[in-house]
């Protein structure tokens, strides 16, 4: 009960902030841009609604969702970056948080609440992003539970065609959702760790962005290497399909494992630091 109340405070502190309003223009822009991309690409290929003999719809909302979340530029500079900006000051603890921790009477509970709050926000943020894009582009592109012709033809490297044979758009979206939530959680915890060490949240934010941008560069350097090495850049594990990871021959569960290894390293470290933290 005490822990639940503390977690509620933690979430309120992280959610009640104006900067989250940036979500609206950012995702409105992404939705607009991606629906344009799908429409223009489809028109260029002669895919229009109602073409005789087409088994699948020419395009649908999923065709905008996957390119958004499988685009490394968007991932690094927009999707992850915006999330980090919104939660970067979860540590050092606020004055209100300090008097709440004093009442919680447990640093372990404090650590758990800090860690869980990032996971919950990562889940909400990714879920909201998926829903907003799907809802915003559906009036223009239509919605279907099946793959579209646009996706099946797979001339875009950003569409997860590798999964089309074995899955539906929903299951591919769930896979992508899991990768993003885990990735955002890991980077949120990494940011907390650096902030705990430096007591400056901008350092935490800076280190995580540096890691992401470095991994973006590294991902392009690791083109002709073994599949095992290709998994090293963090950015690869946010996305299912993007160059040069297009022909990934490692199963998707490796990306999940990748994030879990990060968590196995980061969570005990943050726990140790928080046990000795000052308020």
């Amino acid at each position: 009960m005490k822990f639940k109340a503390f977690l509620e405070i933690e979430l309120k502190q992280l959610l009640l902030r104006w900067r989250w309003l940036g979500f609206i223009p950012i995702f409105a822009f992404l939705s607009y841009r991606m629906s344009n991309f799908v429409l223009n690409s489809s028109l260029a290929r002669g895919l229009t609604i109602g073409v005789a003999g087409q088994a699948a719809v020419p395009f649908n909302a999923w065709d905008a969702l996957f390119p958004t979340y499988n685009n490394a530029w968007y991932t690094v500079f927009v999707l992850v970056n915006f999330f980090l900006i919104c939660v970067c000051d979860s540590l050092p603890e606020s004055k209100f948080g300090s008097i709440a921790v004093f009442r919680l009477r447990s640093r372990k509970g404090w650590w758990l609440a800090k860690t869980l709050s990032i996971l919950i926000l990562a889940t909400l943020y990714t879920l909201a992003g998926f829903l907003v894009i799907l809802l915003a582009v559906s009036p223009r592109l239509g919605f279907s539970w099946q793959w579209s012709v646009f996706a099946l033809e797979a001339d875009s490297i950003l569409v997860p065609f590798a999964f089309q044979k074995v899955s539906t758009p929903l299951s591919a979206a769930l896979t992508l959702f899991g990768m993003n939530v885990l990735g955002l959680w890991v980077f949120g915890v990494l940011m907390q760790l650096v902030t705990l060490l430096t007591r400056r949240y901008l350092f935490g934010y800076g280190v995580v962005m540096f890691t992401l941008i470095s991994s973006f560069i590294l991902s392009h350097l690791l083109v002709n290497v073994s599949p095992f090495l290709k998994i090293l850049p963090a950015i690869h594990n946010f996305n299912m399909n993007f160059w040069p990871y297009l022909y990934r021959d490692l199963p998707m569960r490796w990306s999940y494992l990748y994030w879990i290894v990060w968590l196995f390293i980061l969570l005990p470290l943050t726990f140790r630091l928080m046990k000795k933290a000052s308020f």
Binding site: S94, S98, L104, S278, F279
Partner: protein, 232 residues
């Protein structure tokens, strides 16, 4: 220092040291606060008064030394001071919520403090419990009163107060003095810091000075002597 029987002591800090980088702020600070007493700590800005209170509360861990509150060792038997209310470094609140809503959230975490008690404590410190105004619009003095209210909310037996009248006008200071004196009368022990020697004179049974990281009895013309006389 005169040794008191342990059952009469609510706070005992022994040889507390703390350094930040190379700056040693506390160099063996010790104090024993008896039950139903008000002790004051004065000292220059940055002398380590707030750090000392934070260590006593458990919000900060000392490099060495021990703190016992009601005979429980902090950092050993308990992580934070039991049955204690704190106001250290000025309390912060959720700016978009009312005073009562902020206290309700804190009361849910502590598991103590009913709606009636929240109303009572807000009235006690001179705030309107029915006021729905967000805390973000409060003046410094109102925020200080709210900070004191959160410290008193769970009816603790020990109060650690860092400059409790900071930001209050003269009338506000008087009200707080009355509240603290009444609390002492009802059995609460208080350790406070202040820059105001008048405040110390009015409230405290004994005054210490934080000087170069060590707490020593404060004896200056007009203050320490006067207190000594009053005690005798």
């Amino acid at each position: 220092m005169e040794q008191l029987p342990s059952q009469n002591i609510c706070l005992k800090a022994e040889k507390i040291t703390k350094k930040f980088n190379k700056n040693k702020v506390l160099k063996g600070a010790s104090i024993e606060l008896p039950l139903r007493a008000i002790y004051g700590i004065c000292g220059f800005n940055g002398s380590g008064k707030s750090v000392f209170l934070k260590i006593c509360s458990g919000l900060m861990l000392p490099d060495s030394g021990t703190v016992s509150i009601f005979n429980k060792k902090i950092g050993n038997e308990l992580e934070f001071a039991p049955d204690t209310g704190i106001l250290i470094d000025g309390a912060g609140f959720l700016a978009s919520y009312s005073a009562a809503r902020n206290l309700e959230l804190l009361a849910k975490v502590s598991g103590k403090g009913s709606a009636a008690r929240i109303r009572e404590v807000l009235e006690q410190v001179g705030l309107n419990a029915a006021d729905k105004k967000p805390v973000g619009t409060f003046s410094t003095g109102m925020k200080q009163r709210l900070g004191l209210a959160q410290a008193l909310m769970e009816e603790p037996q020990l109060l650690l107060l860092d400059e409790p009248t900071n930001g209050l006008d003269f009338a506000g200071q008087r009200e707080i003095y009355t509240i603290l004196s009444e609390l002492r009368g009802s059995g609460v022990s208080i350790l406070l810091t202040s820059h105001s020697l008048d405040e110390m004179k009015i409230l405290c049974d004994k005054v210490f000075e934080m000087d170069r990281g060590v707490l020593s009895p404060f004896v200056r013309p007009g203050i320490g002597e006067e207190l000594e006389d009053e005690r005798q």
